[in-house]
């Protein structure tokens, strides 16, 4: 398996093991797309089924959601910079941009939690109606992914400190960057099809 090793090209692609892991992760992301697509479909089907709970248009506000979007989009950009630094062989740059990425991700999470609590105070909870169940599970699943991503990245940061850039560590960082960009794309869909549409209708 790991027997042959290429001498050129990005570190993470040099071993067959690295190539296979990356391909496997792409397929996994395909499955994740289906997972979120199912959640989006559920949300769409249950749209408007608010029962006695508040309407989304009464609760959704552009302010916070715009900030969240800004934070997450920027974090995707800094994550890209981190990988760029990695490709240049700079562990320092990688760590620097990755930490910023995580800080932005944490900020995003903080606002999301604040927002959920706020909605709950207004009487929109997981239990209050089919619509709000769908909303909380869709946004919550995304938030859970972000949380996991942050935890995972912290583990990788410790490993890069210990081991420096190798075929394995760079593969791990490359994969988490794919994951992070993927979450960003999902958020764009949540932002538009949940929040923007929810505010208007």
């Amino acid at each position: 398996m790991a027997a042959e090793e290429l001498k050129t090209g990005p570190l993470e692609y040099r071993t067959q093991e690295g190539q296979m892991s990356i391909m496997g992760f792409w397929i996994f992301l395909g499955a994740e797309v289906v997972l979120f697509a199912t959640l989006f479909a559920t949300y769409a089907v249950l749209f408007g089924r608010t029962a006695d709970a508040p309407l989304p248009s009464e609760l959704f506000e552009p302010g916070i959601v715009l900030i969240m979007t800004f934070l997450l989009l920027t974090s995707s950009f800094t994550c890209g910079l981190a990988i760029h630094e990695m490709r240049r062989g700079s562990v320092k740059g990688l760590i620097f941009w990755m930490v910023i990425t995580l800080a932005l991700g944490l900020g995003f999470l903080g606002f999301e939690i604040y927002e959920f609590v706020h909605y709950a105070h207004e009487g929109a909870t997981l239990q209050s109606s089919a619509f709000w169940s769908a909303f909380f599970v869709l946004a919550g699943t995304h938030g859970l992914h972000v949380t996991l991503g942050i935890g995972w990245a912290i583990l990788l940061l410790i490993q890069i400190k210990q081991r420096g850039l190798t075929n394995v560590t760079s593969r791990k960082f490359f994969i988490i960057s794919l994951y992070w960009h993927f979450l960003d794309v999902i958020w764009i869909f949540i932002f538009t099809s949940v929040y923007l549409i929810g505010m208007v209708i």
């Binding site: 067959q16 397929i27 289906v34 997972l35 089919a130 619509f131 599970v137 995972w152 394995v168």
Partner: protein
């Protein structure tokens, strides 16, 4: 909470089951301790990442589940043949048809096929293991603990009783309170993770680890069917994951997805379930097609007729399988237009399926057939499966389905496709590759007995059910003492007994062959008729599979290799082989997640959180695990190969 609140009490049959489970468990503990096998079990099996061993464990579990599901089936048949006896009450009957269906599809058919894929696919493409051996072990243990959870439900907490389709609102918290339905949800969720992981794992293995020169269109047809199946798994299983999660959140955390309150939509469950469920039936039939194709080509001693068409028809079936789910609930009232669309798409599936049938027939045409046991199963499959397919098309006509739906006609249909397709294939594949796995063949005479008993039993059991359905007998009914139905029900039960006998003979044959069968001396077990690379390895297969991987640039490469005298041991080309190390982590990881699931089932949140934290700790450990295996030395390889080949 008192112990009697958790254990199921008051049912003689269940007391019997408890006692026999306890005794069986004690017997296993005793044997392992007495023969000092604990270490061996842990070192050689529970920590194994070898695809061949994992495959064997899958198949053993699947056989066990075939037994459990079979016992359920026999109990239902007894009840239906003697409805006045009061053998089962309605609650017990509900539980049994629920566990029967779930176990047979999720814990029998899929793991059986995945077990065969595990063992055979790497051998067919010239790979040394899976792309991710650790993940493969993880898959197996997630399936195993999911299965264990589901199976203990009938003595602890009570079995689910809302059918294997678990339709809401019946399966929701309001109408099915208690842990029973949670067992269904968590058991499937846990094992579903493993199935998805296997899908990804096999896909990468097939795409990236083929022998040098082997193009996609050189791959053996069973490998092709596995690849296509993995594609379906990757795109269908997340839907199940979501459906199960939403229902779990409904039941445990009070959400309103499928409820009758809070404007929930119970019908959405049917949609989500079948958006996974229909692809799922193709997940269990495509590998079966692959197995039959291999067996038929081998014993017709010909190249499979229309290889390319076979591949393309599988791909078309896989795509279509995502477009027909509504045919499972035509009667739910989606309207004439929607029903018509799905009616047409359903009937379209019959086209590529029919193409495959003709290809098998054409392969057999004018060939010198060798009637071995795997070939018998394969030949029996063709006409039997056609009966299932044709009645499927009948069910696919929406207007007619208003009559057939949820009657025994439907029951007969899916047993004709699932048994004559999937189960026959499991038997065919197991007997066919048995020498590769265990170093000896299964006894042919006993094998034929098992086949004929099972084959006749099957038709006697299920053919009458078409007519029961046409006579209006609904499914999932436990009081059936309508004079008109009784004779056919009795006949059907007689057939079921035949199948049970066939199964018993099959299992006895495992023991008998272990004792008395001749040990294999060559790798090419079936009279030198092997066509694909798995037969080029020695028997038993060395743990690194191939000393040297041959160059492949055609279909059925082993035929030419034999002509040219080439083997998978070219002495001067041997290099050290990299292998993954064994590890107990997957077992522990999944045991912890099983514990977490158990906590959720009983809504004991401390236990659930504890198990989840344990799971996270295991993931962290894995992340810091930089063990990248070891190398097998050239000397060791040479020695092993020379011994096995008698050089």
């Amino acid at each position: 909470m008192h112990i009697t609140d958790i254990l199921v009490t008051g049912e003689p049959i269940i007391y019997g089951a408890m006692v026999s489970m306890a005794l069986g468990g004690l017997a296993i503990l005793f044997v392992l301790t007495y023969f000092k096998k604990w270490k061996w079990l842990w070192r050689e099996w529970l920590t194994s990442v070898d695809h061949k061993k994992i495959g064997v464990m899958y198949i053993l579990s699947a056989l066990l589940m075939l037994f459990r599901g079979g016992v359920d089936a026999m109990m239902m048949r007894v009840q239906l043949a003697f409805p006045d006896l009061g053998f089962l009450n309605s609650q017990h009957y509900n539980e049994i048809f629920t566990t029967h269906g779930t176990i047979m599809i999720i814990f029998m058919a899929m793991p059986f096929l995945i077990g065969l894929m595990n063992i055979i696919v790497p051998l067919q493409i010239g790979a040394r293991d899976f792309a991710f051996p650790y993940l493969n072990a993880l898959s197996f243990w997630s399936f195993f603990f999911g299965m264990a959870l589901f199976n203990i439900s009938f003595v602890i907490g009570g079995s689910p009783d809302a059918g294997w389709t678990s339709y809401t609102p019946l399966s929701g918290a309001a109408m099915s309170p208690g842990p029973g339905q949670n067992f269904y949800l968590m058991g499937l969720q846990l094992s579903g993770i493993g199935t998805l992981a296997t899908g990804i794992n096999l896909m990468v293995t097939i795409l990236k680890m083929r022998a040098p020169g082997m193009k996609l269109f050189h791959m053996p047809i069973f490998t092709w069917s596995t690849l296509v199946t993995c594609f379906i798994i990757v795109f269908a299983f997340p839907i199940l994951t979501v459906a199960l999660a939403l229902l779990t959140i409904d039941r445990i955390f009070g959400a309103q997805f499928f409820t009758l309150t809070g404007e929930g939509l119970p019908m959405m469950w049917a949609n989500l379930f079948w958006m996974w469920g229909h692809p799922e039936v193709y997940i269990v039939i495509l590998p079966a097609f692959g197995i039959f194709s291999e067996v038929i080509a081998t014993f017709a001693k010909k190249r499979l007729f229309g290889y390319n068409v076979m591949v393309w028809s599988m791909i078309v079936i896989a795509l279509l399988s995502f477009l027909v789910w509504v045919h499972h609930f035509f009667t739910m009232g989606a309207g004439a237009f929607v029903n018509s669309v799905f009616s047409v798409s359903t009937m379209l599936i019959a086209v590529p399926t029919g193409v495959k049938i003709f290809n098998w027939l054409a392969t057999l045409y004018k060939s010198k057939i060798e009637f071995t046991v795997p070939m018998l199963w394969s030949l029996a499959f063709i006409p039997s499966f056609i009966l299932g397919g044709v009645t499927g098309v009948m069910l696919g006509m929406a207007a007619a389905d208003y009559q057939f739906h949820n009657s025994y006609f439907l029951i007969a249909h899916f047993h004709y496709v699932l048994i004559a397709g999937t189960v026959f294939a499991c038997f065919a594949g197991l007997v066919f590759w048995y020498p590769k796995m265990f170093g000896h063949k299964m006894n042919e005479r006993l094998g034929r007995w098992a086949f004929w008993l099972f084959f006749f039993g099957f038709h006697v059991c299920f053919f009458p059910q078409y007519f029961l359905g046409l006579d209006g007998m609904p499914r999932r009914l436990f009081i059936t003492n309508v004079a008109e139905w009784l004779p056919l029900n009795v006949i059907s039960t007689v057939g079921a007994v035949g199948m049970a006998l066939g199964f018993v003979v099959f299992v006895y044959n495992v023991y008998y062959s272990f004792r008395y069968s001749e040990r294999e001396t060559t790798g090419d077990s079936w009279n030198g008729n092997g066509r694909t690379l798995e037969w080029a390895t020695t028997t038993p297969v060395p743990y690194y599979n191939f000393a040297t991987v041959p160059y492949v640039d055609e279909i059925d490469p082993y035929v030419r290799m034999k002509e040219e005298g080439k083997t998978t041991f070219e002495e001067d080309e041997v290099k050290p082989i990299h292998m993954p190390s064994y590890t107990g982590q997957p077992f522990i990881f999944m045991a912890l997640l099983g514990l977490a699931s158990f906590g959720l089932i009983f809504e004991w949140m401390y236990l659930a959180v504890f198990g989840l934290i344990g799971g996270v700790v295991m993931m962290i450990r894995r992340s810091f695990d930089y063990d990248d295996g070891y190398y097998v030395s050239v000397e060791e390889i040479k020695e092993t190969e020379k011994k096995a080949r008698g050089l």
